[in-house]
Amino acid sequence: MVDIETYIKDNVALIVINGDVDASSSIYLDESLNNQLTKKEYNVVVDCSELHYISSAGLGVFMSYIEEFKGTNQKFVLFGLSKKVRNVFEMLGLDQLMTLVETKEEALVFVNEN
């Protein structure tokens, strides 16, 4: 099960994932990301520090938004990935295509760069 909350502050939509993102719960992740994509107003920062497991379906959701957010000029950054989760991203090569940082501060810095 997963619990996904979105907090809006300034120009940032902070999406906090708590739990596992598998085939069934990935639809909630898709929902919250799609929400931001249609609003086009905020940069998207995803807090993965409480993301314990991600299946290929979850990776598929992240992957599908890389190009989408580029198209709307919304910055898209993930932070706080555990070693295990980060490894999964790297294995698939997603680290080459999206920004993965350690802390929330780094993420906010990235968002506020030009």
């Binding site: 085939a23 990935s26 290929s56 379906a57 598929g60 890389i66 698939l92 090569g93 997603l94």
Partner: protein, 659 residues
């Protein structure tokens, strides 16, 4: 047949009656013939009633009435003959009088037996064992009384009393009365009165014969006829009284019966050909009928759909807005307990409506809709009826829940069937054996989880010295995964025989496979080309879990950590920037291990993953053994780690051992 026997017996009776006076023949012959006559009639009517098994109660009474009318009319005809020829010598003839009397007696017997058979049906309308036993005792002694007529036996009168008493005991059973509707009861009263009238007529008729003529056949004193007469008439009187007293309560009984029927309709509406809407329609109709509502509707929350009865959709909206504006001036819950699910009723003053009741329709603890009932009189709903509507509503909820469950079960069944097909397809896509030669041996193992996954591995002999090897994992499960896996196999067979480099293979297959993938799906592969002439392995990784290579000379195993990107993630030409091609030289005794993430992500009951380290150590430990042994040992270890529980994902393993 029966009529034939009747006429035959009648003629014989006449004949024997004549003999009675001549005193020539055996004087018990008339009794014997009478017995045959009774039995014939009894079987005849019994057969008629049995054929009409599905007759309703009124029709049974109607039959008696018709038989009674026929017999009375014939009897009256004889009487009128008597009047016309009254005083003539002919009518004074003993033989003729006796003959006429016998005909009358015969008619009475026919009528009595017809009535008797019908009464039997009525008494045994709702039978139980005790009733059946007492009825058969009664029947036996009644027919036994015919035999008693044969001779004079002392104490015969007492026996008569027993028969009559027995008749009265069984006469108490008149449950059938309760099942008559109001109209049917009136009809029954009329028919019973007429039946009684016939009986009285026959009684008077025969009595007058007996008074006028002293010399009649001994049958005139038959105990059987007397007993049957008493029984039929007393049952008729009893039934009449019971029906009369039952008349005022009939409407209540009918109401209850209607409720039961409505209840049944709701429960039965879960049959597959009915749908949820029909369940709601039946609920609405039954509720309106039960409380005689002036107007009613059901609103379905999820779809905003309205089911209307005697009210238009516009009016529903105006009435509802008035509800919220004026509020209900008085409201009370139908169930007094804390049950939140109960309906509410109260007074209201909207348009012409003065009282309202509404009931939430619950399906599996979710409120699916609301049933509204309106009446144009104040306090129009009685609490008892509202409780019944509440049970209707609950039943409708259960029916809908059952209906959904049934549909889900069907859908699951269909899905399972689909998975079975997908599994079969997937199994056929995997090779039976991989290409081994005198430079290396390959062993493989795969196991699909409950759901169909998308693990794929294959080999292709490009030339005498070159062999292509692939392992792939399609994201997602089910039929779509199997479908993508089939595409991957096609791409592999097409590209590998063109002898392309691993980078080119990955790049081209990305272009090819991306077109068929939806935006959240991807395929990870590792592609190897083994060249036995130069003893090299050239490979590229596209997002797949890194393969393990054991070097026999260094005695260590390690992962191929080259850069890679899964197929289908980016669909542009710059894909190759994210992929790296590596080439190594192999030595005899080296081991190459390909696998899918089902192995490294296999979990034990403490949610621990099997992991990369464990796999690496296993390869090192068993590296000197044959490829098939290495493969077996790894699978055994994974199983042991998971306590032999079923794995959630598919997992595949390919072991290449170089000679």
């Amino acid at each position: 047949m029966a009529w034939l026997s009747l006429s035959v017996v009648d003629i014989t009776n006449q004949f024997s009656a004549g003999n009675n006076i001549d005193s020539g023949f055996h004087d018990r012959l008339p009794n014997f013939l009478f017995l045959i006559y009774v039995i014939a009639l009894f079987t005849f009517y019994k057969a008629r009633v049995a054929v009409a098994d599905r007759l309703n109660l009124i029709e049974l009474l109607w039959r008696i009435f018709v038989t009674g009318m026929l017999t009375t009319v014939v009897s009256l005809g004889i009487r009128s003959l008597d009047l016309v020829f009254g005083g003539t010598q002919l009518i004074k003839n003993v033989l003729v009088v006796d003959f006429l009397f016998l005909i009358n007696l015969g008619l009475l017997t026919a009528f009595l037996i017809a009535t008797f058979v019908v009464w039997k049906r009525l008494i045994l309308y709702q039978k139980n064992k005790r009733l059946l036993v007492s009825w058969s005792i009664f029947e036996y002694i009644l027919f036994g009384s015919i035999l008693l007529d044969f001779a004079y036996i002392p104490g015969k009168e007492y026996f008569q009393i027993i028969v009559v008493a027995m008749g009265l005991i069984v006469s108490v059973n008149m449950k059938w009365v309760a099942f008559l509707s109001f109209k049917q009861k009136w009809k029954s009263i009329l028919l019973l009165l007429l039946t009684l009238l016939y009986l009285i007529y026959f009684y008077m008729n025969l009595a007058s014969y007996r008074n006028s003529y002293e010399f009649l056949s001994i049958l005139s004193n038959s105990m059987f006829i007397r007993s049957a007469f008493v029984f039929t008439s007393s049952y008729a009187i009893f039934s009449l009284l019971v029906i009369v007293f039952n008349l005022p309560t009939t409407s209540v009984f009918e109401q209850k019966l209607k409720e039961v029927v409505n209840f049944q309709r709701i429960s039965q509406s879960i049959q597959t050909e009915k749908n949820e809407e029909q369940v709601l329609e039946i609920l609405l109709e039954s509720a309106v009928r039960t409380v005689e509502a002036t107007a009613a509707w059901i609103e379905v929350k999820s779809t905003d759909k309205l089911f209307l009865d005697k009210i238009s959709a516009d009016k529903v909206h105006s009435v509802k807005s008035d509800f919220s504006a004026a509020g209900l001036s008085f409201r009370q819950k139908i169930q007094s307990n804390e049950n939140k699910k109960t309906g509410v009723y109260g007074k209201v003053r909207v348009e012409e409506y003065r009282s309202v009741a509404y009931f939430p329709i619950w399906v599996n603890d979710v409120q699916e809709g609301m049933l509204y009932l309106l009446k144009d009189v104040r306090d129009g709903f009685s609490k008892e009826l509202l409780e019944i509507i509440e049970t209707f509503t609950n039943q409708a909820g259960i029916s809908i829940a059952n209906f959904r469950m049934l549909n889900e079960a069907i859908a699951t069944e269909r899905y399972k069937e689909e998975l079975k097909i997908a599994k079969q397809v997937q199994a056929k896509l995997l090779p039976v054996a991989l290409a081994s030669n005198n430079h290396f041996n390959i062993s493989s193992f795969t196991m699909a989880a409950d759901e169909v996954g998308g693990d794929y591995y294959d080999s292709y002999k490009i030339s005498e010295s070159k062999t292509a090897l692939i392992i792939a994992d399609v994201s997602g499960k089910g039929t779509s995964a199997a479908f993508h896996m089939a595409q991957m196999k096609g791409v592999f067979l097409a590209l590998s025989q063109m002898d392309v480099s691993p980078t080119e293979f990955v790049e081209r297959s990305n272009l090819a496979i991306s077109l068929g993938l939806d935006k959240t799906s991807f395929v990870t592969i590792s592609y190897f080309v083994i060249d036995t002439t130069f003893k090299t392995i050239v490979f590229a990784r596209a997002g797949h879990v890194p393969s393990i290579y054991y070097s026999a000379s260094e005695k260590t195993a390690s992962y191929f950590k080259n850069k890679g990107l899964g197929l289908g993630i980016i669909r542009s030409a710059n894909f190759k920037e994210h992929v790296q091609q590596t080439s190594i030289t192999y030595q005899p005794g080296d081991v190459l291990v390909l696998y899918t993430d089902g192995i490294t992500e296999a979990q034990n009951k403490h949610q621990e993953e099997f992991g990369y380290d464990r796999l690496l150590r296993l390869v090192e430990e068993h590296s000197t053994k044959d490829d098939s042994i290495i493969q077996e040992k790894i699978i055994e270890a994974v199983y042991a780690f998971c306590d032999n529980e079923l794995l959630e994902d598919d997992y595949s393993l390919v072991v290449v051992k170089f000679k």
